[in-house]
């Protein structure tokens, strides 16, 4: 049986429910999207009292299986107006499992605009709403320290930054990492604003749960856990992550001419090697101190793709710096300095915003002439405006689409209002197809085709390719495991499904599992349709269809019909 804790954010009343359906067993995005579809009116105001939030851990949370403690957060997105699932590493999912919880539901919202901030504290004996005013208007780093001071470093905390408090649409939710620092972001879709709309400034899950995982077949589970470790260690892709992390994509995208540069106007940047994985690796090693080229965002994790970037004195500047940030807050702004990117990333983390969304918004701001591409200090100053919630900061913190409208920029890189990730779509039609057809808006993890495109610039066969990887990519989200585990099980999910059998004595076949994945996709698209999103919203800005990318000579040539086909499940 799987427990759902339902909390009214106004009254503090709470109830526990139990379910034994497979959708609750799988947890993760399978459960969060199921709950959003079932319980949230698609037409509701995402920042109103009828929206709900669902925090779901996965089928293998709380066990010793590597990379299986992702936290999936579902809601209606204020950024896209559609369904949102955003997931994060960290320890919150693990703490949920230790409290015997599969899902936490947050309902309702205060009607009064001056309602006080509250913190939800979940312990084994009770759920409390306590005063959270002492956290208000503080950056995420300070909030994180205050939460640690009050609840201890082992508590699983999630919080929002000033951007969330001010209901900005690029705001995310920061979750505590294994060191107790709220640095692991469920960044996309404006979920920080949804939490803030309920006047919840933090949620804390204490480590007093004491629920130990039970196993139908402990020996089989132990063997299966070792098998996953073996698969991760043996897989060359996963082991490459261990040394360089996602930063390795800088070189790959530069070589493929899809490194977003100067507001997605180009696909290559002269001097990209100054911000590539090797440069970052060498710099971290040279500076030493707090710097780490490998770091686990959750425990246990054999991949350890995360990193800790130190300043010149070896003190922690930012953790982690991911490829997507290096591109959106690096090449997309014409920046070639890792320290600048790290500083931007730190300010973004402190403000509590999605680095992709604000990076894309800053790109359109620079195109509008607010500052010059490649001007390090100007970009840092703009990012400080987001942290300080100035009028300019509010515009940038509202995301790429709104920033483009305000600044009068037509070349706005987004789908459904969500900023594009770090792959110039005109140079990779597979990724373009994935961006277009995702129910989440511009999203890369949804169906990562780039490594499997024989001719990236051609749209031929890309409907099928995107759909293939929509399933492969969504499998990991579907049960709360890390997306990077997919390389080890992409041709055979049975090692993970065998673990489910050994833990719960429930058989889920590979076909049945994929049916869950596909029904989740159907459910998400249906929610969006019910919310009023049409195929006409699944388009790039017209400039991507009109203007060729300089390096490839390519334009977007994907039709609405092809996009609709890629959305059909």
């Amino acid at each position: 049986m799987f427990n759902t804790l339902r909390i009214n954010t106004v009254t503090g009343e709470y109830t526990k429910e139990t379910n034994d359906e497979k959708v609750f067993l799988l947890g993760g995005r399978t459960l969060s999207s199921y709950m959003v579809s079932k319980e949230v009116a698609a037409s509701c105001d995402p920042l109103g009292r009828h929206n709900k939030m669902f925090f779901c851990c996965g089928a293998l949370s709380g066990t010793m299986v590597s990379s299986a403690n992702r936290l999936s957060i579902g809601s209606k997105s204020p950024l896209t107006g559609g369904i949102k699932e955003s997931n994060a590493g960290g320890i919150v999912g693990h703490r949920m499992a230790q409290q015997g919880l599969r899902c936490i539901v947050l309902e309702d919202a205060p009607v009064e605009e001056d309602a006080n901030w509250k913190i939800i504290v979940i312990s084994k004996d009770k759920v409390e709403l306590i005063d959270g005013e002492f956290l208000a208007k503080k950056g995420v780093y300070e909030k994180s320290e205050l939460l640690t001071e009050k609840f201890g470093p082992k508590a699983g905390c999630l919080t929002i930054g000033p951007a969330g408090e001010n209901l900005l649409l690029a705001s995310g939710i920061a979750c505590s990492d294994p060191h107790g620092v709220c640095s692991r972001y469920a960044g996309r879709g404006g979920l920080g604003a949804v939490l803030a709309s309920k006047k919840i400034i933090a949620m804390v899950i204490l480590k007093d749960g004491g629920v130990e995982p039970e196993f139908a077949d402990a020996d089989a589970f132990k063997a299966g856990t070792k098998n996953i470790l073996h698969l991760l260690k043996e897989n060359p892709v996963s082991t490459s992550f261990t040394k360089y992390g996602t930063a390795a994509m800088v070189d790959i995208c530069q070589a493929l001419k899809v490194l977003p540069t100067n507001n997605f106007k180009q696909g290559t940047m002269e001097g990209a090697e100054k911000i590539n994985a090797q440069a970052m690796y060498d710099l971290i090693k040279e500076r030493g101190g707090a710097g780490r080229t490998q770091h686990a965002c959750q425990l246990p994790c054999a991949i350890q793709c995360s990193n800790v970037f130190p300043d010149k004195d070896g003190n922690l500047l930012c953790s982690p710096i991911e490829y997507e940030t290096m591109a959106l807050m690096g090449s997309n702004l014409g920046l070639k300095n890792l320290d600048t990117i790290a500083e931007l990333n730190r300010y973004a983390n402190d403000a509590g915003v999605d680095t992709l969304e604000v990076g894309a918004a800053m790109g359109v701001a620079l195109e509008a002439g607010i500052a010059n591409f490649g001007d390090d200090q100007a970009c840092i100053d703009l990012m400080k405006e987001v942290l300080n919630i100035t009028p300019m900061g509010r515009i940038l913190g509202s995301g790429c689409k709104i920033a483009a409208k305000v600044f009068g920029v037509r070349h706005a890189p987004h789908i459904l209002g969500q900023g594009l990730p770090a792959y110039e779509p005109r140079g990779t039609k597979g990724m373009a197809m994935t961006y277009l057809s995702s129910p989440m808006g511009g999203d890369h993890t949804f169906g990562f085709t780039l490594r499997d495109e024989d001719v990236p610039t051609s749209k031929e066969g890309k409907v099928e390719l995107s759909k293939k990887f929509q399933v492969i990519g969504s499998r990991m989200d579907a049960m709360g495991t890390c997306n990077f585990m997919r390389y080890s099980v992409r041709n055979d999910m049975s090692p993970l499904l065998d673990l489910i059998k050994a833990r719960y004595d429930v058989v889920i076949t590979t076909d049945e599992f994929d049916d869950f994945v596909k029904s989740t996709l159907r459910r998400e698209h249906q929610f969006n349709t019910d919310a009023g999103i049409t195929i006409a919203d699944h388009r790039f800005s017209e400039t991507f269809y009109e203007t060729a990318q300089p390096e490839t000579g390519e334009k977007i040539d994907i039709t609405d019909e092809e996009c609709a086909e890629a959305m059909k499940w």
């Binding site: 070589a255 770090a422 780039l450 490594r451 001719v455 997306n483």
Partner: protein
């Protein structure tokens, strides 16, 4: 005998393998070339993205002598 102008240069980016030169007097598929590299290196190559002259090449594409192929681990962003 291997003449200098019959070599294919395979450059493993972000890898300790560095550069591997393979004697390749006749056009051959990338798949065969990678198999030869695997033999030289003594370990499987795994999933890769291969790029030559700024274009992605597939496993069945032919590689000619004097070509230079950049090999990247087939990673993805986070």
């Amino acid at each position: 005998m291997c003449r200098g102008d019959e070599m294919v240069k395979v450059i493993f980016k972000l890898s300790e393998h560095g550069e591997v030169k393979i004697n390749q007097p006749h056009p051959t598929s990338l798949e065969d070339l990678l198999a030869k590299c695997s033999g030289v290196l003594g370990e499987p190559i795994g999933s890769v993205i291969a790029i030559s002259n700024g274009k992605v090449i597939g496993l069945t594409d032919l590689v000619n002598d004097n070509d230079a192929i950049d090999i990247y681990p087939a990673l993805s962003g986070g």
